[in-house]
């Protein structure tokens, strides 16, 4: 017990004495949170839109106004004639063009069906799709307000948990999960390998400290730092980015503790494999990159090829990612998340025990 405490204290003295380490632990994640929070944004808003109105009628202006209300489209008069519409797309002047033909209002007034042209820049298929969706909604609204007829089917949509569709609500919980993974895997593996490199590990191994005490003393500090780290990230997320935290914080921290068994175990495992800090860094990087890419952090797992989907089942972060998002965004409770929780417990126990068993006090 005394030796565990001695190790924990020593580790903290070392971390706080090393300014580079401190920056790595506390500043880097904040930058990550800000950059990812702002940059990774799938929200489609303020789309520059060229309006070719050849009708110039009351009705055509009304349709144009329907597009400019709201924050999705920014409707402008085009700089170039219709013949050169593509030049505008190539030059990124606009991403969408709305073409209203001359006979637009006359056809409607005579009871005929009219058509408008909607051009979209399809370079980014995702945002093109979203723009088409918005436009469809606007046209539908226009139809409903101009036809006395009842529309046969009306869709009443209800978007749950993130009705405004803000990417950042989805990203920040993901960042919290990846931060905890990266920091605990990296720091644990580096801390042991650094001692091996410096020769201090030999000195500790020749002491009667038990392997269990050594492992605990070497992992507890990074578990604490991991918790400090996600607390900072959560505080920043809720205060600065104003992200709602719907579920139970206690549940999130409790499950993070279980998840840490896995990441600390992986760190420990790397440190038994590696002789130098470079090797440990490489392995740590490899693991976290794999874990993040197949966790559903950015790309939904359902979009992945079936075989990759099976591989993701072996990724502990996948479960924790779902847990963090579930708790923060949907207010999920332990019963809602039980398959993930069980998976994490199994991962944690297997990885941490096998890593501890492989770690010996022999050179």
């Amino acid at each position: 017990m005394r030796s565990i405490w001695a190790l924990v204290r020593k580790e903290f003295i070392q971390v706080f004495r090393d300014p580079v380490m401190l920056r790595l632990i506390f500043v880097a994640p904040l930058i990550q949170l800000f950059i990812l929070g702002y940059a990774v944004n799938f929200d489609v808003k303020l789309i520059p839109t060229a309006l070719y109105d050849f009708d110039h009628s009351q009705l055509s202006r009304e349709l144009a106004r329907a597009f400019s209300i709201g924050e999705y489209f920014v409707v402008e008069k085009p700089m170039l004639p219709l013949q050169r519409i593509e030049d505008g797309f190539r030059r990124d002047r606009y991403r969408v063009a709305l073409v209203i033909p001359e006979d637009f209002s006359s056809k409607i007034e005579s009871g005929e069906q009219s058509a408008v042209g909607f051009w979209v820049d399809g370079t980014n298929a995702n945002s093109a799709g979203i723009a088409i969706g918005y436009a469809g909604n606007i046209i539908q609204g226009f139809n409903e307000s101009h036809l006395p007829l009842e529309v046969p089917v009306e869709m009443r949509q209800k978007v749950l948990y993130n009705p405004e569709g803000k990417t950042i609500y989805f990203m920040v919980p993901g960042i919290v999960a990846t931060l905890l993974t990266t920091i605990t895997v990296m720091l644990t593996s580096m801390a042991i390998v650094r001692e091996r490199e410096a020769g201090t590990l030999e000195q500790v191994m020749v002491s009667p400290i038990s392997t269990q005490a050594f492992i605990l003393g070497k992992t507890i500090p990074f578990a604490i730092l991991g918790f400090a780290e996600i607390s900072v990230a959560l505080a920043l997320g809720t205060v600065w980015f104003k992200i709602p935290f719907v579920g139970s914080k206690a549940l999130l921290y409790g499950l993070a503790m279980i998840y840490l068994l896995t990441t600390l175990g992986v760190g420990l495992f790397i440190s038994t494999l590696c002789r130098t800090q470079q090797q440990a860094m490489f392995f740590g990087w490899f693991f976290t990159l794999f874990a993040i890419l197949t966790s559903g952090f950015v790309t939904p797992i359902e979009n992945m090829p079936r075989i990759v989907q099976h591989i993701t089942l072996a990724n502990p972060l996948r479960y924790f990612m779902k847990i963090v998002r579930g708790i923060m965004m949907k207010g999920a409770g332990a019963t809602d998340l039980y398959p993930e929780i069980i998976a994490m417990i199994i991962f944690g126990i297997i990885i941490f025990t096998s890593a501890s068993l492989t770690f010996t006090k022999r050179l």
């Binding site: 005394r2 030796s3 405490w5 001695a6 190790l7 204290r9 020593k10 003295i13 070392q14 004495r17 090393d18 410096a198 020769g199 201090t200 030999e202 000195q203 500790v204 191994m205 020749v206 002491s207 009667p208 400290i209 038990s210 006090k361 022999r362 050179l363």
Partner: protein
């Protein structure tokens, strides 16, 4: 009479390379026992086996009455070890290092304070114990490393080239400290390159290519081989050993 250290045909191989080959030796309590030999002679491997850091490939050994293969953790309680490489934390002060190593050996904070005061005066660490270890000159670091190795009052202390890279005047001071320790009843096992240091030992063991090629008090070895000093004796022994293969 119980021996501090006994080994029987102790052998350690790394793959095809036999680092320690069939070593038999006994070391009495409170003697200073020296291992000398060229680089790669197997001194460090032998010490690491005796400290329970490496398992022997063949043979057996006892340290303080405990078996090196089956009871390494019991051995670790009763020995001190100063490795060849400086192994204190450079980013901690001397005192923080001592507190850390003392706690790892299970000293209570009260014992620890008392012991740190004791070694500080014995080894004269007062002037630099609160400075960052990494910033100290090598001689002072070695004294701190010795302090860390004896903090828990071990009966046997292993010192692997404790004076490598230390200037000659300072080596003398260091050996005076070792003598004081031996006078108080501590058994010391020292490896060294320096022949003058070897002569300070009560008995020495000359190692070459994993084997012990001579053992005994330095004076006796010199006389037995008809030489005048240890260096000449050493060179002669190594040459003979190379010839006979």
């Amino acid at each position: 009479m119980p021996k501090a250290i006994e080994t029987h045909n102790l052998t350690r191989a790394f793959g095809d390379f036999i680092a320690v080959n069939d070593v038999n030796l006994t070391v009495d309590y409170s003697e200073i026992f020296g291992f000398i030999g060229p680089n790669g002679a197997g001194k460090t491997t032998l010490i690491r086996m005796l400290c329970g850091l490496l398992t022997p490939t063949a043979g057996s050994g006892k340290v303080n009455g405990f078996d090196i293969t089956s009871q390494p953790e019991k051995i670790k309680r009763t020995i001190g070890y100063m490795s060849q490489r400086f192994s204190l934390y450079r980013d901690l002060t001397g005192r923080q290092n001592l507190v850390f190593y003392g706690s790892v050996y299970g000293l209570s904070s009260k014992e620890l304070r008392a012991r740190i005061d004791e070694v500080t005066s014995e080894l004269d660490l007062g002037g630099f114990i609160d400075r960052l270890t990494g910033s100290l000159p090598i001689g002072w670091r070695q004294r701190l490393a010795l302090a860390a190795a004896i903090l828990h009052r071990p009966q046997i202390v292993f010192l692997d080239e404790p004076t490598a890279g230390v200037d000659p005047a300072y080596r003398r001071t260091f050996w005076e400290l070792l003598y004081e320790l031996a006078d108080k009843g501590t058994t010391l096992l020292v490896t060294t390159h320096y022949m003058d240091e070897a002569e300070f030992c009560k008995r020495i063991c000359i190692m070459h290519q994993g084997r012990t090629i001579a053992m005994g008090p330095p004076r006796e070895l010199i006389e037995k081989h008809g030489e005048t000093d240890l260096e000449a004796t050493f060179i002669k022994l190594i040459a003979t050993s190379n010839r006979t293969g």
